[in-house]
């Protein structure tokens, strides 16, 4: 379609910058999410009674629930973290690159 524009974008050093910054950020977040998830599943599998620890001494409610809710909240916040950089820094860089290529 617009092969020439694509060629110009590709040759722009900012493009490499964008791609490497964005993908390393995305893969890092993926690794953190999968890592935490994996740790959680391992605890569930091999140390389930650890999660049965009461929140309050002598209480019944276990730490499992707030930990679960915490994971859900944390994963959501991480998608927020990604958006913050992607919709700000990365998109700004992106529109600069496109502008320079179209001119």
């Amino acid at each position: 379609m617009s092969s020439e524009v694509y060629e110009r974008i590709r040759r722009n050093p900012k493009f490499d910058q964008l791609v490497s910054r964005r993908s390393s950020f995305a893969w890092m977040l993926t690794a953190v999410v999968l890592g935490l998830y994996f740790i959680f599943i391992m605890i569930v599998a091999f140390k389930p009674m650890l999660l049965a620890t009461p929140i309050w001494t002598g209480g019944v409610a276990s730490i499992a629930w707030p930990i679960g809710a915490g994971l859900i909240l944390l994963f959501w916040l991480m998608t927020g973290l990604y958006i913050r950089r992607a919709n700000g820094e990365f998109d700004d860089l992106n529109s600069q690159i496109i502008k320079e290529a179209v001119e």
């Binding site: 694509y6 993926t30 998830y37 599998a45 209480g59 629930w65 679960g68 994963f75 998608t79």
Partner: protein, 558 residues
């Protein structure tokens, strides 16, 4: 690894899979027909009237093919986020996960977390590229630099397989659920669902389908939250009180507070979780949602909103389940014959509904039942639209007419296809009334994970993919997934009545996904034709578009 731990681990993995089936299709079994529920029916009619109004409004706005298939790219990130969350939160999520927490305690919440974890992954790895490369269907992406006709044909076959099996499973689930909640005849429920589905899709296209999904998501979130708050207030919003009473009133006692254990085999378990996670990323009706927003920014925002809604809803559902242990579990009116040790009225999926009745009376029960019905409608509408798009946009416009069809022709074919899908879904829904359709959901997810997902992700990330590789990979995934399900216990024994299964495992993903990837690699590597070289070169431009969104549909004006 000692044996006990190993068994527990496998049990957990198995459980991840089980909930998948429970969540994907409301398997309420052979439901007992209940007394006619007037509140539910009235509220359901209000919902239907509102959605038909929206369909009329949407029909006025649906002029071009882009309007019809992708709502003209005019859905905002927040709206789309709600719609995606709506696609994910089915009636079965509400019923199945509440029930699981009610019976198993924390295990129910573990399932929620396992379902949820796919979302950040979709956000980081897929959302942006899907939006930047796609137009109307995911085949737009897989065929982007490959041979249009063959790659689209196989993608359409993959989509339609998923859609038809998923649709039948939903239809049968809908019939049983509605018989249970509304006291209507099974066939009436199936026909009502089928007719409304066709009306939404035929007249309102993606705009109506999206808005029906958004309304339903809000109703489900609102209704679920309300029931959860009313129930939680009985415990003074104290987790400790809630937990103490649940433990005191449950047969499982303190075991509610920790991960439990089921017995199972690891292969099935891992296979199911693979199929669910990557199946979600290969479901055509979910993928289509990424094409309804104007740009990558809004696509990201929609995953953010969807993740929030799904996470919140799962947590609310877990609290409902725990509260139901005390509120429903100690009230004889919710048990057969008033016997607290016996079965729950209406079956094991009913804690959410009984809880709604306990905290909000018939009005709340009616409301939640109406929401459950609305939920099924919204999901089948999305499926029908995805199927109709595969037929009209991929098969008709691009394969049969080689891209020469006018927009009006494509839309007309799409409308006829949705009518056809509606008829097929209703007929098969009635035919399969007495069948156990759980295998169909497994099949739908298996095919989505094995036929659609591998080629989709390779086409976005791997330069070396060629047409031959894409075809080999898709066919290998499709054939192996279908064969494994047919030769396994779920079809070979349960449906065809043979004594022993030929293949020992019921879940295909762990076998069929690697096969699909392997054949996609093999086919691409062996392909040394001039066309293959050109296809690999074309990856460069595609890569720039995937990264920057330059040239993306609907975003060119930016």
């Amino acid at each position: 690894m000692n044996t006990r731990r190993f068994l527990q681990f496998t049990a957990v993995m198995m459980a991840l899979g089980w909930v998948g089936l429970a969540v994907a299709a409301p398997d309420v079994g052979q439901a007992q027909k209940q007394a006619i529920n007037i509140h539910a029916i009235v509220m359901f009619f209000i919902f239907v009237a509102a959605t038909l109004g929206i369909t009329y409004w949407a029909a006025q706005r649906t002029k071009t093919a882009s309007d019809y298939y992708a709502a003209g790219g005019g859905i905002t990130g927040t709206q789309n986020g709600l719609a995606i969350a709506g696609d994910y939160m089915s009636a079965a999520t509400l019923l199945g996960l509440t029930s699981m927490t009610y019976f198993q305690g924390f295990d129910g919440y573990i399932y929620c977390i396992c379902f949820y974890v796919g979302w950040p992954f979709i956000m980081f790895i897929m959302a942006e590229r899907l939006r930047n490369l796609g137009k109307f269907t995911f085949a737009d992406i897989t065929s982007y630099r490959l041979d249009q006709r063959s790659v689209r044909t196989i993608a359409a076959i993959g989509s339609l397989t998923v859609v038809v099996f998923y649709l039948i499973a939903q239809m049968v689930g809908a019939g049983q659920l509605i018989k249970l909640l509304f006291g209507l005849e099974y066939w009436m429920a199936v026909v009502i669902v089928g007719v409304l589905m066709v009306v939404y899709v035929t007249f309102g296209g993606m705009i109506a389908t999206t808005w029906v999904q958004i309304i339903k998501a809000c109703l489900l979130l609102g209704g679920g939250t309300l029931v959860m708050l009313l129930a939680f207030s009985r415990f003074g919003f104290s987790l400790e009180t809630l937990a103490t009473q649940a433990v005191a009133n449950s047969k499982k006692g303190l075991a509610l507070m920790a991960p439990g254990a089921f017995l199972s085999d690891p292969v099935t378990a891992v296979s199911l979780s693979l199929g669910l996670m990557f199946g979600t990323a290969g479901l055509p009706h979910i993928l289509m949602r990424f094409f309804t927003v104007p740009n990558a920014k809004e696509a990201r925002k929609s995953v953010f909103i969807a993740t929030l809604c799904v996470g919140f809803f799962f947590t609310a559902v877990a609290i409902m389940g725990l509260a139901a242990v005390t509120i429903v579990g100690t009230d004889p009116q919710y048990f057969e014959g008033g016997n607290l040790a016996g079965k729950l009225l209406g079956g094991n999926n009913m804690p959410a509904m009984h809880l709604a009745h306990a905290v909000g009376g018939n009005l709340m029960l009616g409301f939640l039942s109406a929401v459950a019905f609305a939920t099924i409608l919204a999901v089948v509408a999305g499926l029908a639209l995805a199927g109709a798009s595969a037929i009209s946009h991929d098969l008709y416009a691009n394969v049969i007419r080689r891209g020469q069809a006018t927009e009006a022709e494509a839309i007309r074919v799409s409308k006829m296809s949705s009518l056809g899908l509606g008829v097929v879904a209703v007929l098969l829904g009635i035919v399969f009334e007495k069948q156990n359709v759980a295998f169909m959901v497994g099949l739908a997810f298996g095919v989505a994970a094995s036929c659609n997902f591998p080629v989709l992700i390779l086409s976005m990330y791997w330069k070396g993919l060629t047409t031959r590789g894409a075809i080999w990979g898709s066919v290998a995934g499709l054939v192996s997934a279908v064969l494994i399900v047919v030769l396994s216990k779920s079809v070979w024994v349960s449906v065809l009545g043979n004594a022993t299964p030929i293949f020992p495992y019921e879940q295909p993903a762990i076998f069929s996904m690697p096969l699909a990837f392997f054949f996609a690699w093999l086919g691409s590597t062996l392909d040394t034709s001039a066309r293959a070289t050109a296809e690999k070169e074309a990856f460069e431009d595609q890569y720039v578009r995937a990264q920057t969104g330059f040239g993306a549909a609907g975003a060119a004006a930016h």
